[in-house]
């Protein structure tokens, strides 16, 4: 009865939890000491957490174990979870990196925001590793609670508290629905483990009493998860929350929790409930079509930048659900390539939102028209914005085109012609609002030139690395495409192992 294997397998999470406790004690002692003159520790803790995330990335990717079920089948460690954890750690590090100067500008002085970000990352890491319905629910709740508090971080702003309240209601409601589905799964089968559920459904797929119950349960589970992904028809408050929350927190929860929920959805749809995938497929297709349509037509009318990015996130989520609905290995391959590239583009778009503010009255970017004629003030920013938004629109030879192309090829290969045609037409329409941003930055006339605060060093490095990557993806896509394929192969191999055990 030794926990040696658990210590090695779950070393990243155990390390992160211990470091968070240390950072809390350090923060409290230092900020309340009159000897140090009550310092503001947000900046300090941001750089400390970047160091923590660096070590966490090393611990995650250089794990000596391959396929391990730890804590009595509660948490699983396989190559898929290692890969997703690495993506999450890198994206979180980018998010914290771009928020350092903005916290100073916006006077977000509570060091607890960094602690809550790290706790949310803990929740997401546990969610990705989780193999049991209990740990899925507990990890989702840990992540969601930290995000509720983070959305309401700016206590003196009406928008922020309203966004926090809306996010809390949305999250509590969706967790309730998800939990009802999980309890029905337990009730109809007596199984709490995803691997056992897969074997159970393989053995008796024709027992109508159980299959009807499982279908009802999976409806509730899928509804709860689609709420958290802000897919249609559950997308209603996502633009409000994105607009109201502080922009650094919006950058975090537009990118990172979605990867976790998508990884969880992969485990549900392709491992736990794979035998009844046909009933999930219909829901995925409907949700994907409506998400893309509504994301596009909603974003056409927007005047504010954060709402535009929120609606475009809904559209991109529709693309990912389209990749999920194919049911074959190439489907999840294309989806995860899209996820990796989309995370880069999302982080980039929020970098511009956080880095551009005017020197004269220190106004930040709220409306689209604040972006006019940016190129005269800072031509390289204009070029980077052009590359980012062209990539999000899907213009070749940038990376976004290839990610969309893989998804279309997979959809047509799985004979889903209707959804492919609708999505192609809608993605042409969605080009409009991305290219409108580029037109504003380059060509619009404004008789007053603006002087911007200098785009600082961390953001500059991030922008240059990611735009170079987006440009060169066409020449050298090998690391991402074959890397994802190798890793998802292990997901299929483990399923095969479970089937024959």
């Amino acid at each position: 009865m030794s926990f040696k294997v658990e210590l090695i397998a779950m070393a990243p999470e155990i390390f992160l939890i211990s470091i968070i406790q240390y950072l809390i004690i350090y923060g409290v002692i230092c900020t309340t000491s009159s000897y140090l003159n009550y310092p503001i520790l947000v900046n300090n803790l941001s750089w400390l957490s970047l160091q923590v995330l660096f070590f966490l990335g090393l611990l995650t990717s250089y794990n000596p174990l391959t396929y391990t079920l730890t804590f009595n089948d509660l948490l699983i460690l396989d190559e898929f979870s290692i890969f997703i954890k690495t993506i999450i750690i890198i994206t979180t590090a980018c998010t914290i990196l771009i928020s350092v100067k903005y916290n100073h500008f916006e006077r977000i002085n509570a060091f607890e925001s960094i602690i809550l970000l790290l706790l949310a990352v803990t929740g997401i890491l546990l969610l990705i590793s989780s193999f049991n319905l209990i740990s899925i629910y507990l990890a989702i709740e840990l992540q969601s609670f930290c995000l509720y508090i983070l959305a309401a971080l700016n206590r003196t702003s009406e928008f922020s508290t309203e966004a926090g309240l809306k996010y809390f209601v949305l999250g509590a409601f969706s967790s309730g629905l998800l939990l009802f589905g999980l309890s029905l799964v337990y009730g109809f089968t007596g199984i709490l483990n995803l691997g056992d559920l897969f074997q159970f459904l393989c053995v008796n797929p024709y027992n109508l009493h159980i299959i009807n119950g499982i279908n009802l349960a999976s409806l509730f589970i899928l509804t709860g998860l689609l709420f958290k992904l802000s897919a249609v028809p559950f997308h209603l408050w996502a633009p409000d929350i994105y607009e109201g929350a502080p922009t650094t927190i919006t950058a975090f929860f537009a990118s990172v929790p979605k990867i976790g929920i998508l990884a969880l959805l992969t485990r549900f749809a392709y491992l736990g409930f794979y035998d009844i995938f046909f009933s999930w497929q219909e829901l995925f297709v409907i949700s994907a079509i409506c998400s893309i349509l509504l994301g596009t037509f909603g974003a056409l009318m927007q005047l504010k930048l954060k709402r535009l990015l929120a609606y475009s996130a809904i559209g991109h989520m529709g693309f990912m659900l389209m990749g999920f609905s194919c049911g074959c290995f190439e489907g999840i391959h294309a989806t995860f390539v899209y996820i990796v590239l989309y995370m880069m583009m999302a982080v980039l778009s929020f970098t511009f939102l956080l880095g551009i503010y005017r020197k004269k009255r220190l106004t930040r970017l709220n409306y689209l028209k604040d972006l006019t004629i940016l190129t005269n003030s800072n031509p390289l920013i204009g070029l980077s914005i052009a590359l980012t938004f062209f990539s999000m629109a899907g213009i070749p030879p940038l990376a976004g085109f290839f990610s969309k192309m893989f998804l279309f090829i997979v959809a047509i290969q799985s004979s889903m012609y209707t959804i492919a045609i609708i999505v192609v037409i809608t993605s042409v329409i969605s080009c409009f609002y991305y290219i409108r941003v580029i037109k504003l930055v380059f060509f619009d006339a404004n008789y007053l030139w603006v002087t911007l605060v200098r785009f600082d060093r961390e953001k500059s490095i991030l922008v240059s690395v990611i735009t170079t990557f987006l440009l060169c993806f066409a020449i050298y896509p090998l690391p991402i495409v074959y890397g994802v394929q190798n890793i998802l192969y292990f997901l299929v191999r483990n399923q095969f192992d479970l089937f024959y055990t």
Binding site: Y148, T161, L165, G187
Partner: protein, 102 residues
């Protein structure tokens, strides 16, 4: 009348639906919304305990105990967010939550 599993499940499902409709049909204030969320979680707890008794499996009761803990902390966070919202706005009526729209 045989008191079997489905009679108990009627109760839990109706409790869950009452909590669900409490969120949708709420036009008064946010505290009713928080109470409805708690009612949903309570119904799910009952559901799990009923299933645990009829499946003769202890894991349902374990799951229910953990959900109880999480529900307590969730209501604490909800009330905290409600308090900071009230400090800024001065009211908790539902129809006044319309600053961010579109």
């Amino acid at each position: 009348m045989i008191l079997d599993q489905t009679k108990y499940l009627f109760i839990t499902t109706f409790l869950f639906l009452i909590g669900l409709s409490g969120i949708f049909l709420n036009r008064k204030n946010i505290i009713i919304l928080l109470m409805s969320v708690e009612l949903m979680l309570l119904a799910i707890n009952f559901n799990l305990i009923v299933f645990s008794v009829f499946l003769d499996d202890i894991l349902g009761q374990l799951f229910a105990l953990l959900i109880l803990t999480v529900a307590a902390s969730e209501s604490a966070i909800g009330l905290a967010i409600l308090i900071i919202y009230y400090r800024i706005r001065g009211a908790i009526a539902i129809e006044l939550i319309n600053l961010i729209k579109g």
